[in-house]
């Protein structure tokens, strides 16, 4: 259980986390979602007491992280920026962390096997690929058999095998009743792994919602119609609860009617249709619309807006 309450962090005049409150519950995988630079990593550092909040507070398992006598048993963490000395072997890195808590060497060996690092345990970490580095980070996170697992962008650099491995691992950790909190800037990844979402933009909470509710909320009923008689069809279909928009001549995007309804109406009035397609809004698009709105609403930082715009253009 992670309890973030009115958490605020400023660096100079830049506000990284702005009056953020949410609770991460045990037993489910909770996704922490937001565009790059939205404050996810800062929030995670605040949870661990690596950074001190400007105001507000956060507790893990009922008390501030710093007050736990055996923090590695309470929280296991993988931080986005590599937190490993490249000159040390994977084994010695894990051993040094384990020794702070008196965790046995056997547990270190166990984690090295679990993470699939058996063949490279004595290799200096500086020679690891990004994916191997992530695996080591995950091994370090699980070292103390923690009640809470916090992972910052765990998918980064993993190959498809690794991604599959971590998805299964996270689900099984949650199924054992642990609190699993992972960040990502990719909605599609979250939809596959998480059950609950905390969505932030520019340090503020945008949504605290279950994945299924978010999917439901996002799935607008839009039908795309291509017709040479766009103007007339639009006139006929317009009604108080129907919205019709058009991005290009001869194409209508209709919200509020099913494709069946539109097809029937068009046939009965003798309209010619070239295309009649129900359009699904992807979660990625819904997420970006959400964070984009937030940024425009808040918007004085033009660089952040540009970044989102670019992401959207690339996705389109």
């Amino acid at each position: 259980m992670i309890d973030v309450s009115s958490l605020t962090k400023r660096y100079g005049d830049k506000t990284a986390v702005d009056d953020l409150s949410f609770v991460v519950r045990p037993g489910v995988v909770t996704g922490f979602l937001g565009p790059n630079g939205s404050g996810k990593s800062t929030t995670m550092r605040l949870i661990l007491g690596l950074d001190a909040p400007t105001s507000g507070g956060v507790t893990v398992g009922g008390k501030p992280y710093r007050e736990h006598v055996a923090p590695l048993h309470e929280v296991g963490v993988l931080l986005e920026a590599r937190a490993v000395h490249p000159g040390r072997s994977a084994y010695n890195h894990l051993l040094a962390l384990a020794q702070t808590h008196g965790i046995a060497r056997a547990r270190v060996d166990e984690l090295i096997e679990l993470a699939g690092l058996g063949g490279v345990a004595r290799t200096r970490v500086g020679q690891f690929s990004l994916g191997m580095g992530q695996r080591l980070g995950i091994a370090a996170a699980l070292l103390g058999d923690p009640k809470v697992v916090i992972l910052d962008e765990p998918i980064n650099g993993l190959d498809p095998d690794g991604i599959h491995w971590i998805r299964d691992l996270l689900r099984s950790l949650a199924a054992e009743g642990r609190t699993v909190f992972l960040s990502s800037h990719l909605m599609s990844e979250m939809a596959l792994t998480a059950e609950h979402l905390i969505i932030i933009g520019r340090g503020r909470l945008i949504r605290d919602i279950s994945v299924s509710d978010f999917v439901h909320e996002s799935s607008k009923n839009v039908v795309r119609v291509r017709t040479p008689q766009a103007g007339e069809l639009r006139e006929m279909l317009l009604a108080p609860d129907v919205r019709v928009s058009s991005d290009e001549p001869g194409v209508l995007e209709i919200e509020g009617l099913s494709s069946d309804d539109i097809g029937r109406s068009a046939a009965s009035s003798g309209f010619v249709l070239y295309e009649l397609t129900p359009v699904e809004v992807s979660l990625e698009e819904a997420f970006m619309a959400l964070t984009h709105d937030e940024i425009e609403y808040r918007g004085s930082d033009s660089t952040a807006t540009t970044t989102i715009d670019e992401q959207e253009r690339m996705a389109a």
Binding site: A81, N92, I103
Partner: protein, 275 residues
């Protein structure tokens, strides 16, 4: 649920393991020994301390017969054989800086402080482990430098005996000085949290400032000079009484004071700043 009425509810079992100062020290030992740079730098400390002392002693012995009376009068067999300590200082001080700035530059510090969020035990452990390792390396170095140096000097019968008053203390004290220099570097690194800044500051304090003080008017220079860290510390290697220098153990005590102050400032920074 039924069993709860039969079996008294046990207090929640304390975690089988927890963070203790001794465990953090063991962890710091693992960190120290598992980096190659540690052993390279300690090797340089040993080689420099012994090597330069031996070279200076051998060279002096070699040209003794042709040396001027004035040079012969100012010759000091003890400090000649310990000349290498000033070079060992550079290596062990750099290692002290790296001991903590290496954690900041690599991000390892976040793993370290996630495991030990109270932070200070990490600094105490680094001090303890590095003091032991530093002294364990420094003492044989100064002993070998002394005896090897005297062996060369004895060819001209200008050696000094280990049993001579103050000599054993100076050889032992020189090892303590090397150890303290390492801790001084650790303190600077803890304050500055950056390898380049730490090493530059260390080198400036130990090697650049002393000659600069010589530019000052002599009355002022004579007053400041003995209290400069490197001069205060190096006083331990010179048992002859001089004007404008501290006595050996007083000098070492002053240097220990600088170390303590630097480490204390580092502890404050460590607790206050984000990582």
């Amino acid at each position: 649920m039924n069993s709860a009425t039969v079996t008294p509810v046990r207090p929640r079992k304390a975690p089988a393991t927890r963070v203790t100062q001794r465990r953090v020290a063991l962890s710091e030992w693992t960190k120290l020994r598992s980096l190659r740079s540690t052993w390279y730098t300690l090797l340089i400390t040993v080689v420099a301390t012994i090597g330069f002392g031996v070279i200076a002693s051998a060279a002096t012995a070699g040209r003794w017969s042709s040396m001027s009376l004035a040079d012969k009068a100012s010759f000091d067999p003890l400090s000649t054989s310990l000349l290498g300590v000033d070079f060992g200082v550079l290596a062990i001080g750099v290692l002290g800086v790296l001991l903590i700035t290496g954690e900041y530059s690599t991000g390892m510090v976040r793993s370290t402080f996630a495991a030990v969020p109270t932070r200070l035990p990490v600094l105490w452990a680094k001090i303890g482990v590095f003091a032991l390792v530093g002294f364990a390396v420094a003492l044989p170095s100064t002993l070998i430098a002394f005896f090897a140096g005297q062996a060369f000097l004895s060819s001209q019968h200008i050696q000094i005996a280990f049993s001579h008053s103050g000599v054993a203390g100076a050889v032992l004290g020189s090892a303590v000085y090397l150890m303290l220099v390492g801790l001084f570097g650790l303190g600077l690194g803890t304050i500055l949290r950056n390898t380049a800044a730490g090493i530059a500051t260390f080198a400036a304090v130990m090697f650049v400032i002393p000659p600069l003080v010589g530019i000052l008017p002599s009355s002022l220079a004579n007053a400041i000079d003995p209290y400069l860290p490197s001069n205060a510390g190096a006083a331990i290697m010179d048992i002859a009484a001089h004007a404008h220098t501290l006595s050996p153990w007083a000098g070492l005590a002053v240097f220990a004071g600088y170390c303590a102050a630097t480490l204390a400032a580092g502890a404050v920074v460590l607790m206050r700043r984000d990582v």
